[in-house]
Amino acid sequence: MTVLYNDPTHFREELIEGFVAAYGRLVRRVPDASGVIATQPRPRSQVALVIGGGSGHYPAFCGYVGPGLASAAVMGNVFAAPSAEQIYRVTRAAAGDGGVLFCYGNYSGDVLNFDLAEQRCQAEGLEVRTVRVTDDVASAPQGEESERRGIAGDFFVFKIAGASAARGDDLETVARLAQKANDQTRSFGVAFGGCTLPGQSAPLFVVEPGQMELGLGVHGEPGIQSSHLRPAHEIAGLLLETLLANAPAALPPRVGVLLNGLGSTQYEELFVLYKDVHRLLVAAGLAPYHPVVAEMVTSLDMAGCSLSLCWLDDELLPLFDAPCTSAAYTKF
């Protein structure tokens, strides 16, 4: 249940105000636009990484703005893509001379609006490239990877793209590395309870007692399939088996790991689950690298979690390791 709101139609506006009030040392509001931009000035020659999507996913997307991560984030209404107009305004505010990389989850509303904004920017002579996050293995079969939707894998793609931009790479390179990070990231999740939109009294879907949903979406979409609830160690096995069956071909064993909470699943439950995830990763011959067990892409108050793996080859590793500061994630 989403409890804390005033007028549900002002939810986005009020959350932006509150976020900027809390994290003014990192971000400021883009004037006349639904988005935030990093306060710390960047060299004008740097690529601007502009991310975005609907609200309801905090810390995605505004929580990823800061040095070494995104330059700016465009924020739509709850679970709705930001409009092309808002994306354009935020992009204009963030762009220097190095061009812009758009990075967001692969949803038709986001694709439509970001593409329209991209066309408008290009027409004005601003160079824009796009990398869509497509990590969710439940959303399309192998061979159709580019059709998949983006869920918690955002974390790895934003981190690596942001580090590449901060290093001073040109737009071509930042886009290539972001695409590579996406191509080497896989996620799969389970849900135990649906989420409720601000102002609504019933959740978007209900999980029956003793059941869980496999292959959840992060917008309250029900899972691809229902199954019986089982102990944490079996869920760990299920998540990992699914990811490994969908792993990218022939990569070194080092993997970035994100066990992501969806909104109302306890951190301590996640650690209980992670104990077995870690053990099973090692048993499968993989080397978990700087694992993250946290809420990184949520779905309002949805109960559940997802597991993401990012295969970190020698090119991606230094970017994943690079320092960054943001409300969501800081690395020294």
Binding site: G76, F79, A80, A81, S83, E85, Y107, R149, H219, E221
Partner: protein, 206 residues
């Protein structure tokens, strides 16, 4: 355009908003079957934004529709972009032309084609096009001298039948497409909401 024609767009928007508010919960339930349940809210938000943008605005019906479309699009989401483009493109095509059957039909067709291009959708993909294209076909049936109101009213069942028939389709575009068969058995909320936009025009006494 004269003052009466200008206010057609205002009156249509007011009626469309009232209809959409009435059906907001129903559209939300349809959307929750395979999506995120916000379609009704998105349509209401878009129509409110369009109404606000047109408060005190003057111009030809075509110009007003373009303004309404831009404001609708800025309300966000896939529906915002698509319905906004539908209105804006139809307005652009309408321009300063008369609100007669051939001109309005051509404008609506241009809008529908733009939605198909932007959304990379075809008839049968379980989208608003599955209501809009049957409506356009029905609108093209009577002689061009037929009154717009009469032709519109006669064509409306084709849109409603098209929307209802999306129940038996599996979504191939949009977020619902990721859920494949879960979209079966429910009409597409976008196809249903477009019938309300079309029906609203009848209340404006063109």
């Amino acid at each position: 355009m004269d003052a009466v024609a200008q206010s057609v767009v205002h009156r249509w928007l007011a009626e469309a908003l009232a209809l959409m508010v009435e059906h907001e919960a129903e559209l939300g339930r349809l959307d929750a079957a395979a999506g995120d349940g916000d379609h009704g809210a998105t349509m209401v938000r878009g129509l409110r934004a369009a109404s606000a943008a047109l408060t005190g605005a003057t111009g030809s019906s075509g110009q007003l529709l373009q303004q309404a479309g831009a404001a609708f699009a800025d309300a966000g989401g896939a529906s915002g972009a698509l319905v906004g483009a539908l209105l804006a493109t139809a307005g652009q095509q309408l321009g300063d032309g008369p609100c007669d059957l051939p001109t309005v039909t051509a404008a609506l067709r241009a809008g529908a084609d733009q939605v198909a291009r932007l959304g990379k959708a075809q008839p049968g993909d379980k989208t608003l096009l599955d209501a809009l294209y049957p409506f356009l076909r029905a609108l093209a049936a009577p002689p061009p001298t037929q009154s717009l109101t009469v032709a519109w009213k006669a064509a409306l069942p084709a849109a409603e039948q098209g929307a209802a028939a999306t129940s038996s389709l599996v979504a191939r575009r949009g977020r619902a497409a990721k859920l494949g068969a879960r979209s079966l058995g429910h009409p597409d909320p976008g196809a249903v909401s477009i019938t309300y936009l079309l029906r609203a025009l009848l209340a404006t006494e063109l």
